[in-house]
Structures are given as structure tokens and as C-alpha cells.
């Protein structure tokens, strides 16, 4: 079979390309809402002609990503005046040792009505990040619920989970993991 360029093929390719581009415009369901620049602004589109089939629209290679607004820098963990509440693997129940710590935190908050306490939930490095993120939230909430049961107003408390992202001890053994499965108190 001999390959020669002919107008028939050019017309075919053009008409297919036109159809493809119409179809694509319709399919773009993820739409921008903010002040965004169109993706193709900086790079001219690629062309392609073919003797066999229509090309899908070319994805333009991205320019270097712009820097997002400067965020909150992650600092080392703030030293808390209160001990961490520790947890068993894949568990969120407050243990006996944790109840003692919670009692101290509750006494403090009841005697300082203006104080606000953020409870951070953390996990060890094992397991999937998403699951650990939810587990950390459950740990923090479990501590919050216990503090409320001790008479701390709910409005003085808030929670955030860092999952397994902020280990206290960077080790990879049971001793480190036990320290990292924790609820951490941050006075605000």
C-alpha cells in the first residue's frame, strides 16, 4: 500500500477534528469558576494529520506550576502543658491512662472559662493515609466527647486530624508507633 498525501485525507482529518473539538467542548464538565487563565494560553496547540483515524485533542504540556498563595508553615509540634492521650492500634477508645490526662485537662478548662482547646488526632505510620486521617478525627472526637462528659463546655473545644502525617517520633518500631497514636492538646 502506497502512502501519499491527498486532499481527501486532509478534508477527512479536518472534518473529524472539527467534530472532535465540538464533542470535547460539551464534555468539559469540570469548569472553572474563578479568575483562571485558559490552559492553552501559553503554548500553541499541536497539530496532527493522519490517514487512519481522527486524533483526540492534544493535551498541551503544562507550563511550570505557579506557586500557590503562601501557606501556613508547618512548625515542630508545640510543647503542650498537657500529656498526650495515647491509643491502641486502630482504636479510638480513651484508655485508663488517657482518662487521667483528660481529667487534668478538664479541670484546667473548667477553671479557665476563656480558654479554647484544639485537640489534634494522630496515627502511626502503618496503614493507608486516608483511613488514618479519618481514624485521627475519631480519636480527637473521642477525647472531646470524654471532656464534655466531664463538664467541659463543647464550645471550648475543637478537633483536627493530621492522620499519620505528623509523627512525634520518626522511628519505625512499636515504641515510636505507640507515641504517635495520640491525641495532642493545643491551647489556643
Amino acid at each position: 500500500m502506497k502512502w501519499t498525501f491527498s486532499w481527501k485525507w486532509a478534508v477527512l482529518a479536518l472534518s473529524i477534528a472539527a467534530l472532535v473539538s465540538v464533542g470535547c467542548a460539551k464534555k468539559q464538565t469540570v469548569k472553572s469558576e474563578g479568575a483562571e487563565t485558559p490552559p492553552a494560553a501559553s503554548a500553541p496547540p499541536m497539530g496532527e494529520t493522519t490517514m487512519k483515524e481522527a486524533p483526540p485533542p492534544m493535551a498541551v504540556p503544562p507550563p511550570p506550576p505557579s506557586t500557590a498563595a503562601p501557606g501556613v508553615a508547618v512548625t515542630e509540634e508545640k510543647i503542650s502543658r498537657f500529656d498526650d492521650v495515647r491509643f491502641d492500634f486502630d482504636k479510638s477508645e480513651v484508655r485508663e491512662d488517657g482518662r487521667k490526662t483528660c481529667g487534668i485537662v478538664a479541670d484546667y478548662l473548667k477553671s479557665h472559662p476563656q480558654a479554647k482547646m484544639l485537640i489534634e488526632g494522630h496515627c502511626d505510620e502503618r496503614g493507608t493515609a486516608e483511613y488514618n486521617m479519618a481514624l485521627g478525627e475519631r480519636r480527637a472526637t473521642s477525647v472531646m466527647t470524654y471532656l464534655v462528659s466531664l463538664g467541659v463546655p463543647r464550645s471550648a473545644l475543637s478537633t483536627v486530624s493530621f492522620g499519620k502525617e505528623k509523627p512525634l517520633d520518626p522511628g519505625h518500631n512499636e515504641a515510636a508507633w505507640a507515641k504517635n497514636r495520640r491525641a495532642h492538646f493545643v491551647l489556643q
Partner: protein
């Protein structure tokens, strides 16, 4: 307007009937045949007229590297080539096919490139050397900076020609890694060939759980840059962002519906995580899975009708499948005390997940009805986690971790071939393979 589209469609159909699709190629690679024979292919030096002479070998190198990755081809080394391809071979002069056959080639690729200023045009042809027929011819235009992605596209066409399944060259993997002294986590991108590694976010906070929109233009991810977790959509090309999910406590996007309308995510309320979906435009949300336990990591099926997700309602995290809008959920993981991070194959027939077995994490796949369990990746001295399928469903990327070391590995779904994609970064994880290009 409607009328003109209709007319174009008629023209299109006419064109199709005038030029029927070519006959089934005589050369064909059965990708399902275990240990099948590789196809010997020669990629000739590319004719450069005009342009940087190093392109003559540079372009075949990009193409050959791609083809080698498939494990479907044997590349015949350029030193064995006997015929010098010239511009005349693109204007009627036939190749000397007996010569190519003599060195063992069953297929031959030739190319011609022109670079004028910032315009590049590349013509590539694939011949069946045994029959002397043209199997595929493409002409591309773009900028010199787009050369790699143009060659990846032609490599995808070659794979499609021989297997009927489009290749995945030019696709990318998004993932997270620790960055610098900040101890934060940033999003990164890397080409599926391990090249073009780059940082996407740079805000020294925690940026987690990247997930691709079906058109490959957006990444949904959770960022802590305001101090609290918010899910953003980020345009990969421009860096433009918008908030898409702010309610609830902890939150992690799981995946988009195939039409791109919905983003599925696990969201905590009062410590209890459920599966929600949020309209990408407009932001309206609805709860899809409600349960007493932790429900996280929704992965939509390619037809959009079902999701796989994680729930610990039975006492330990396990994988369940649910049909959207229909009551009831079916557990599909079995035998382990901990099963998480499901990834539904783009081909629809398998779900990969992380399983804790014998004190280690391994990657396994299973059919959506829970049958046909298969172990894919495991290591005696480390953990294999977080699988994400390639768009062709033939391989997946996962995280390998051993004490302080971590890497991203690509493995064929039959577990036979694997290669390291990324190593040397700290605490890599959450790989997500982009849609096809």
C-alpha cells in the same frame, strides 16, 4: 448551529464509508498470552531537515524507551540497521524491506522531523516489514518543547495498532512526598516513564490525596495550608485553584464520577466519616454511604454506577461495593484483618486494594463481586500499599515502604514485571495514575 453540526456529521459518515477502516493487521500481539513472543521492531534514525542533528537518534531513543516498557517488543539495535532512511522515503521511494527482514525486523518505524524556529513538524510511519505495507502514518506539528509528548502519542498508536489497546505513554502519576525541612507534604508529578519529575504545590503545609479529573486537567486534593483541611481543585496546567469541599472535619477525595460531575470523598462529622459526593460545579453535596463505622476512600467504577469504599463497620477496615442510589453494600475483601485503599480498574473488571497479611501490607486485586482474589505485589521485608491502575488496566503503581525507605513501583497486574518509578524522595505515597492521553 445545530444544522451545521448535522451536516458535518453527515460529511463525517460519508468520509468513513469512502475510506473504510483498514483490515485487521496481519501482525498482532496477543497481550493476554502469558509469556507471549515479543515483536522484533526496528526504529530507524529520523531524517532531520532542518533541525538539531541529535534529533536523528534522540527521537528513536524516546520511542524505543517507550516500546521497551511495554515488554511487547524487541528493539533491533541501530548498529544492525543496514538501510539509511532519507527524505525520499517520504515521497514515494520504497524501503528495502528484504534488508529489514534480514536483520530480523517484523516492523519498521521511520520518521522525518523539521524544526523551524519554534515550530516542529514530525512525520512518523510504521511499516509491516514482512508484507511491505504501511500500518500507520501520522504527521504532527507543535513546538520543540512538545516533542516528547508527540513521540509518546505515536508510541501509543503503535501499541494500539498491534494490540487493540491504547498505550499509556505520556500519562503521569501524581503523588505526595515530604519536602525539605518543613516536614510538610507536597504534591508531585512524574511521567510514567519516570522522567519529568516536578513539584506541584509548594506551601510547606500538608497537601494530600491527589485525584485526577476524568479529563486529566485537574487534581482534587486535601490541603492544610489554612491550618484546617480543605479540598481544592487545581488546574494542572495553569496552577489555578478553587475550593470544592470545606464542610466537616477530616476529608479526603476518593475519585471523580466518569462524567466529571461529581467528586466522591470521605468526610468526617463528629468523628464519624461517611462517603459524600460533591458537585464540582456549584458545590451541592449529598451523602452516598452512611454508617456507624469509618467510611473512606470511595473509588467509582468506570461506568459511574458503583463505588468501592472502605468501612470498618465489621470491626476492622474492609472493602465494600455499593450501587449508587440502591440500598445495600457488599463486602468484597476477605481473609485479612485490614483492607483499605480500593482502586477500581479503568477496564471495570478488577478492584485493587491494600491488604494486611502476616504483619505486612500487600497489594491484591479482586473482581467487583469479590471473586477471583489475586495477590499482585508483596515484599518479605517491606510493605506494598496504595495501588492505582494505569488507564489501560494492564499495570498499577503502588507505594513500597521499608523502614525509612520508600518508593513508587509500577507492576504489571499479573505481577510478573515491575520497575521503580520514583525513589530518593522522602516518605512518598498516595500515587494516582492520570487518565489516558
Amino acid at each position: 448551529m445545530k444544522r451545521s453540526i448535522g451536516a458535518a456529521a453527515v460529511a463525517f459518515l460519508l468520509a468513513l464509508s469512502l475510506f473504510p477502516s483498514p483490515a485487521f493487521p496481519l501482525l498482532y500481539i496477543d497481550i493476554n498470552a502469558p509469556g507471549g513472543k515479543r515483536m522484533p521492531i526496528a526504529v530507524a534514525d529520523v531524517v532531520v531537515a532542518p533541525g538539531d542533528p541529535s534529533l536523528s537518534r534522540g527521537i528513536p531513543k524516546i520511542l524505543s524507551d517507550d516500546l521497551v516498557l511495554t515488554d511487547l517488543f524487541d528493539l533491533i539495535p541501530p548498529t544492525a540497521h543496514m538501510e539509511t532512511v532519507t527524505a525520499e522515503h517520504f515521497s514515494g521511494k520504497p524501503l528495502s524491506f528484504p534488508g529489514w527482514k534480514m536483520i530480523g525486523a517484523e516492523a519498521v518505524v521511520i520518521g522525518k522531523v523539521e524544526v523551524r524556529g519554534d515550530r516542529l513538524s514530525l512525520e512518523m510511519r510504521l511499516y509491516d516489514a514482512t508484507q511491505g505495507t504501511l500500518l500507520l502514518g501520522k504527521r504532527y506539528t507543535g513546538t520543540p518543547g512538545q516533542l516528547r509528548s508527540i513521540v509518546h502519542r505515536f508510541a501509543n498508536e503503535i501499541v494500539y495498532t498491534f494490540t487493540g489497546v491504547r498505550g499509556v505513554f505520556g500519562t503521569e502519576i501524581a503523588f505526595t512526598a515530604r519536602s525539605g525541612k518543613s516536614r510538610g507534604k507536597e504534591l508531585y508529578l512524574v511521567g510514567m516513564d519516570g522522567k519529568d519529575l516536578r513539584k506541584v504545590t509548594d506551601n510547606r503545609s500538608f497537601n494530600l490525596f491527589p485525584r485526577w479529573s476524568p479529563d486529566g486537567q485537574w487534581l482534587a486534593y486535601t490541603s492544610f495550608r489554612t491550618g484546617m483541611p480543605v479540598v481544592y481543585l487545581r488546574n494542572v496546567a495553569t496552577g489555578a485553584e478553587k475550593e470544592v469541599l470545606r464542610f466537616g472535619g477530616s476529608k479526603a477525595p476518593g475519585g471523580f464520577s466518569p462524567d466529571g460531575v461529581w467528586l466522591y470523598a470521605g468526610v468526617s462529622h463528629a468523628g464519624n466519616s461517611d462517603i459524600y459526593r460533591v458537585r464540582v460545579v456549584g458545590g451541592a453535596s449529598e451523602r452516598v454511604v452512611d454508617g456507624w463505622g469509618l467510611e473512606v476512600s470511595p473509588s467509582p467504577s468506570p461506568d459511574g454506577r458503583r463505588i468501592a469504599f472502605v468501612s470498618d463497620r465489621g470491626g476492622s477496615p474492609q472493602i465494600y461495593v455499593k450501587t449508587i442510589g440502591v440500598p445495600g453494600e457488599t463486602r468484597i475483601s476477605a481473609g485479612g484483618s485490614y483492607a483499605t485503599s480500593p482502586s477500581w480498574s479503568p477496564t471495570g473488571d478488577r478492584i485493587a486494594y491494600t491488604l494486611r497479611a502476616g504483619g505486612r501490607f500487600i497489594v491484591a486485586t479482586v473482581a467487583p463481586d469479590g471473586s477471583g482474589y489475586r495477590e499482585v505485589a508483596s515484599a518479605p521485608d517491606g510493605d506494598c500499599e496504595d495501588p492505582s491502575f494505569a488507564p489501560d488496566g494492564r499495570s498499577l503503581v503502588y507505594t513500597y515502604r521499608k523502614r525509612g525507605y520508600s518508593a513508587l513501583i509500577i507492576i504489571s497486574t499479573d505481577g510478573r514485571r515491575q520497575r521503580t518509578l520514583v525513589s530518593g524522595l522522602e516518605d512518598v505515597g498516595s500515587p494516582a495514575w492520570s487518565p489516558g492521553r
